[in-house]
């Protein structure tokens, strides 16, 4: 599959939680090798979309294709094994396990490959110093580093991340943007949910905006950045302000 083709595609996906329909026909395309940002107000259904992709919630209707292959009925572990890494909003860190053990869980049967580990340390040096510490004792930023580090310690085709910069200091945010962009260099495809438009605009190639369980806008990031009026309408904000 060539670059720019859709690595992940959602077609008319509907998801219910209990008796409530959250997603009302989501059509989304994540192109290979690019960074796709999923934006929208709180409660628009962004997290639900990610969870549906990962099989944590099942789509009531619609199709999800990963590298051309339907995955909407698959169990979460099977989806992960296809090469999808997921970083949830709460980071999913195992607090009682050490940093080392957290990373070990993410690695393959052969354990931690030194070379991959070095790359993780290069992006996030704090993980090396806190190697044997219980993950629960790390600071918020360090936990986030661990979460992302865990997602990249094995080569993946797609990284699905829910609000990577939430609650981080501006310096940390810059650090993360750099790390994620470095990933992009290596042909990893990224699907990110981001509340902070400024951050989103720095990282994203493509953007999809959600509202009330539907995609209400999609296209290249540049187009949205240039159109202040569109931003106002979709996100209720003006350029320069954080979401």
């Amino acid at each position: 599959m060539a670059d720019g083709d859709a690595l992940l595609r959602l077609e008319d996906v509907h998801t219910d939680i209990g008796r409530y329909r959250i997603l009302h026909g989501v059509d989304l395309e994540v192109r290979r090798g690019r960074v796709t940002m999923l934006l929208g107000r709180n409660g628009a259904g962004k997290t639900t979309t990610l969870r549906t992709i990962m099989g944590l919630w099942h789509a009531r209707q619609g199709r999800i294709l990963f590298a051309g292959r339907p995955i909407e009925g698959l169990a979460t572990p099977d989806i992960a094994r296809l090469g999808v890494a997921y970083v949830p909003e709460n980071m999913g860190i195992f607090g009682k396990l050490t940093v080392r053990e957290n990373l070990l869980l993410a690695s393959g049967p052969k354990g931690l490959a030194q070379e991959r580990l070095e790359r993780v340390f290069a992006c996030f040096p704090a993980l090396k110093t806190k190697w044997d510490a219980a993950a629960g004792l790390l600071s918020g930023g360090q936990k986030q580093m661990l979460a992302i580090g865990r997602a990249i310690v094995e080569p993946r085709q797609l990284l699905v991340v829910d609000e990577p910069t939430k609650g981080l200091s501006p310096a940390m945010v810059e650090h993360f943007i750099a790390a994620l962009l470095a990933l992009k260099e290596e042909q990893t495809t990224l699907l990110l949910v981001e509340q902070n438009f400024r951050v989103a605009q720095q990282m994203g190639d493509d953007v999809a905006v959600m509202d009330q369980g539907r995609i209400v806008h999609r296209g290249p990031m540049q187009a949205l950045v240039g159109d202040e009026e569109l931003q106002q309408r979709l996100l209720g904000l003006s350029l320069g302000a954080a979401g």
Partner: protein
């Protein structure tokens, strides 16, 4: 500065409870009784740990509270009676070697029987009720009744005697305090199994998965592991442990009744609550606390003895409402 201290104190204080209790008991009674009772309490704690640890793991990982757990304890005890009857030669010989061998065989058979029943139980019953706490409680209660009645069908309604092997009937004298030989054996067995569990949980990939799963099952699945397949293994391990606990306890009591599991149920629950649901380490400490408290109080004030464990639970809950070592996810 004081914040870091406070945090450290917070973290380490649950560990201090047991040693403090042991030390506090010493002045309340003479050294002699103290030694005997402490060993008795530790031994009882070990056996309770065997009975409770399986349940806490099952609950921690699978969110299943198996109210039928007592049935596996009972089954282990009855299987032990049958097995020890079959290898009477070893069990009744007046030599340490054969006696220990007999106990070991009985232990393994009890584990196997309870584990096998656990497997069937998981496939037939537990599987249907994942994620439905109400149904779980009801159906496992019903299963408890049925299994215990079936045990009576097979082994009869009368209490069965389970005499200790001859070489373990006596006591060793430490200074002036007698320490029952069987207690020492039970203590060792419990410790070995506890250490084995610790090893598996902390040094193997499997143990890592279980520990991570107890904290956040979904995330483990998102990392590519089929946690459901782990469930069966953990359930079987849990019920096997219960069987072993039942066997050791019955041998200790030298009597097996169909109520043996039930009589332990409340204690096991108390241990789980004190230790923190899902924490094996907490279960260990909780079991020891309960064992020690039972023995100390029984000596100091027999009237209070029966309720002492519940009072202990209330005290611990007032200090730590989620138990001594709560595991994050719940």
């Amino acid at each position: 500065m004081s914040d870091a201290w406070r945090q450290r104190l917070n973290e380490w204080s649950p560990y201090a409870v047991t040693p403090l209790l042991v030390l506090a008991a010493l002045p309340a009674m003479g050294f002699g009784p103290w030694l005997t009772l402490t060993v008795a309490g530790l031994t009882m704690g070990m056996m309770l740990f065997l009975m409770a640890s399986g349940l806490t793991l099952i609950f921690g990982l699978m969110d299943v509270l198996n109210f039928a757990h007592a049935a596996f304890i009972t089954l282990g005890a009855y299987v032990a009676v049958t097995v020890l009857g079959l290898i009477g030669g070893w069990a009744q010989a007046d030599a340490l070697g054969p006696n220990l061998a007999a106990l070991l065989v009985a232990l393994l058979c009890a584990a196997a029987a309870s584990g096998a029943l656990g497997f069937v139980f998981e496939q037939v019953i537990v599987r249907r009720v994942y994620g439905a706490p109400l149904l779980q409680i009801l159906i496992t209660m019903g299963a408890l009744i049925v299994i215990e009645q079936l045990v009576i069908v097979v082994w009869g309604p009368n209490a069965l005697p389970l005499p200790k092997p001859p070489s373990l009937r006596g006591s060793l004298l430490v200074g002036t305090s007698p320490i029952e030989s069987y207690r020492l054996v039970a203590l060792c067995v419990g410790l070995v199994i506890a250490l084995l569990m610790h090893f598996v949980l902390t040094r193997t990939r499997l143990g890592l998965l279980v520990r991570a799963g107890v904290e956040d099952r979904e995330m483990v699945e998102a990392l590519g592991y089929h946690v459901r397949r782990l469930f069966i293994g953990v359930f079987v391990a849990g019920t096997a442990l219960a069987g072993m606990g039942g066997m050791m306890w019955a041998q200790y009591q030298t009597l097996v009744t169909s109520q043996v599991g039930d009589s332990m149920t409340v204690l096991v629950f108390i241990i789980l609550i004190i230790g923190g649901l899902g924490s094996v380490g907490g279960c260990f400490i909780g079991a020891i606390l309960v064992g020690l408290t039972s023995n100390y109080i029984e000596f100091l004030s027999p009237k209070l003895a029966l309720g002492s464990d519940i009072l202990l639970m209330v005290l611990v809950l007032m200090w730590r409402p989620r138990g001594l070592f709560p595991v994050a996810a719940h």
